[in-house]
């Protein structure tokens, strides 16, 4: 077990190197030059040329790549072309904003999704099953950017119940400690601000949770059904409802494998897919940070931003793999 973990961790290095390389090449394959954007429309040709040299973008790509890699090994994520600030310094607030949003969304998705799935499966063809699955189907069919727009239009603008954009009250901004505002406000004992932060979280996290919640509910239900058809469970069911909790435990565990896969995949989708939600709700997260950087040709930010996300994501996937092993004893650590 331990050596399996170590080996998986070791296997991360080529993945991260591969990613660094792919991102590096891809970003540079995008036509366009950040020098032009930094200097703007009024800039002269000479100015653009001088800026290109200054940014080191006229060097051969392999030299640029190895310079970048060399930096990574010393913990240097590079310097943003746009803000001229070390990325390691400026990335955390964006990352924290997304993590907070993603965690809340994932909690909503898993708690509601898994339970709805299990209950639906157990009471297959009941009214609960029908309603839950119709909601799940509509949920999974939902273009979240449209849902976000509608939420905003109906809840925030028409009924004026919740704020439309941002993470906190602009007039009373949260003093950042960890940049996870839920935590920060609690640490400072500012319960009024905590409630503001929660109010700001509601619409975007629901929008973001919708699809994974629906997928998880469907997956849970279908794998539960599969498991429940085994003779053991069938017998147990035949004995009546009192067996519910006993069976729950066993069948749940066996139904978990595909569900865990989905949760693993969905977390990644959450981290990246947050970009649409972030765009609509003006959430200052990592998705928009990177998206803007792509548009600005801020190469170092695109590279390092994606690498940081990937790093988190790869670790989450490692956990998923380890959980597989824990859940399904038939998979051996070869």
């Amino acid at each position: 077990m331990f050596s399996f973990t170590v080996r998986r961790l070791g296997a991360l290095i080529p993945v991260l190197l591969g990613m660094a390389f792919i991102v590096f090449m891809m970003v540079r394959a995008i036509p366009g030059n950040p020098a032009q954007l930094i200097l703007g429309q009024q800039a002269s040709k000479e100015a653009v040329a001088a800026m290109t040299t200054k940014l080191g973008l006229d060097q051969p790509w392999h030299i640029q790549f190895f310079n970048y890699l060399g930096g990574l090994f010393t913990g240097d994520l590079g310097v943003s072309i746009k803000t001229n600030t070390p990325i390691a310094e400026e990335i955390w607030p964006y990352l924290a904003a997304t993590i907070e949003l993603a965690i809340i969304a994932m909690i909503i998705a898993v708690v509601i999704g898994v339970n709805a799935g299990i209950i639906s499966a157990w009471f297959q063809n009941s009214w609960f099953d029908y309603i839950a699955m119709i909601i799940a189907l509509i949920g999974v069919s939902m273009p979240i950017f449209w849902l976000g727009l509608m939420e905003q239009y109906i809840v925030a603008i028409h009924f004026d119940l919740l704020p439309t954009t941002g993470r906190d009250n602009i007039r009373d901004p949260v003093e950042a400690i960890t940049n996870l505002y839920l935590l920060d406000t609690l640490l400072q004992g500012r319960f009024d601000q905590f409630i503001e932060v929660v109010r700001h979280l509601i619409l975007p996290s629901i929008a973001l949770a919708t699809i994974p919640m629906a997928i998880i509910a469907r997956m849970t239900r279908s794998s539960m059904l599969e498991v429940m058809r085994s003779d053991f469970i069938r017998t147990a069911r035949a004995k009546g409802m009192r067996m519910f909790w006993v069976v729950y435990k066993h069948s749940f565990k066996n139904a978990l494998i595909p569900v865990v896969t989905v949760i693993g995949l969905q977390t990644g989708l959450l981290l990246g897919g947050a970009i649409l939600t972030e765009t609509i709700f003006g959430w200052p997260g990592i998705g928009t940070y990177i998206y803007d950087a792509i548009n600005y040709r801020d190469y170092p930010v695109v590279q390092s931003g994606i690498l940081v996300i990937a790093f988190i994501f790869v670790i989450i996937n490692l956990c998923v793999d380890l959980l597989y092993a824990a859940i399904d004893p038939r998979i051996k650590y070869k």
Partner: protein, 299 residues
């Protein structure tokens, strides 16, 4: 402690290749009984017909402008109202079905084919093949998918075709992994060991035993994927990276109308409903197909 799951006899696992009625025929029979699935099928057929006969159905041209007719509210003349160019939204939605379905089908076909090959190789052969393929999947999956699509489109240039390619690429690992994990658990089954022991060739094992076991999940995942491909296409369009104006792509229509949500909410409402309905249709149909085609799911 989880051994109970595993007590199915190898025989029930065998695809019914030598039973009298083909499982597909039987599947269709049970599919017809499933009302929800039939509704899904009808929705899908509805949109397919709409796409095929768009020229006949649309009351107006999807691109003819009449600037004076800007933002007319829904009426008997323009059922879904008009947009900021005075174009009929209903006509644009009807033509938009063509684009969304096209992207949905072809991008998923691409991802399934590539994902299937890679997933089978990885799962069945294991060792270094698995190692390499899984690493490639890891790398691709470790990119936030929408960002990866955005980057691919940024390299290729924004257009509907490039959006399709990008969507196909980002969905490959999803299928690959799904199939790989299926193969992994099937491989542990006794009958595969038995087949190996009697000297059955790899190719035959894959096609006779492993592949049929993967089919049901591919169908389930495939419908979900067509659905999500349509959404992803719309998302790229929404970000201005998919179809370009005046193409009536639904996501692009949303992006164009977004600024008018307060004055003309119908311009935002209908394209979104169109996306949702199409996707819903595929999901309902996919569910029905799963129930019908996977023999283990039958009551």
């Amino acid at each position: 402690m989880a051994e109970i799951v595993n007590n199915k006899s190898p025989l029930t696992r065998q695809p019914a290749e030598d039973t009298a009625i083909s499982p597909w025929k039987e599947g269709w029979r049970s599919f017809k009984k499933n009302k929800v699935a039939v509704i899904g099928l009808l929705i899908v057929v509805f949109f397919i017909l709409m796409a095929l006969f768009a020229d006949l159905l649309a009351p107006y041209s999807y691109e003819a402008q009449k600037l004076a007719n800007k933002h007319l509210a829904p009426s008997s003349e323009h059922w879904f109202g008009t947009d900021e160019y005075g174009r009929d939204i209903l006509s644009r939605i009807i033509f938009g079905a063509r684009l969304s379905l096209w992207v949905g089908f072809f991008s998923v076909a691409g991802s399934v084919i590539v994902g299937l090959v890679l997933g089978l190789l990885a799962g069945y052969y294991g060792k270094w093949v698995d190692m390499i393929i899984s690493r490639v999947f890891d790398i691709l999956l470790a990119f936030p998918s929408i960002l990866l699509a955005i980057a691919i489109v940024a390299v290729l240039g924004p257009s509907l075709r490039n959006a399709l390619i990008a969507i196909a690429i980002i969905n490959v690992p999803t299928f690959g992994r799904l199939i790989r994990s299926r193969v992994l658990s099937v491989k542990e089954e006794e009958y595969i060991s038995a087949a190996k022991a009697v000297g059955m060739k790899d190719g035959r094992i894959i096609f006779q035993h492993v592949l049929p076991n993967c089919l049901a999940p591919i169908i389930v995942q495939g419908t979900l994927a067509i659905a999500s491909a349509i959404i992803e296409c719309a998302a790229l369009g929404f970000l201005g990276l998919g179809a370009q104006p005046p193409t009536p792509e639904w996501g692009q229509m949303l992006a164009e109308s977004r600024a008018y949500i307060l004055q003309a909410p119908w311009t935002v409402l209908f394209p979104g409903v169109a996306i949702m309905l199409t996707v819903l249709g595929f999901n309902l149909m996919g569910d029905g197909l799963r129930d019908a085609l996977d023999p283990r799911m039958k009551n």
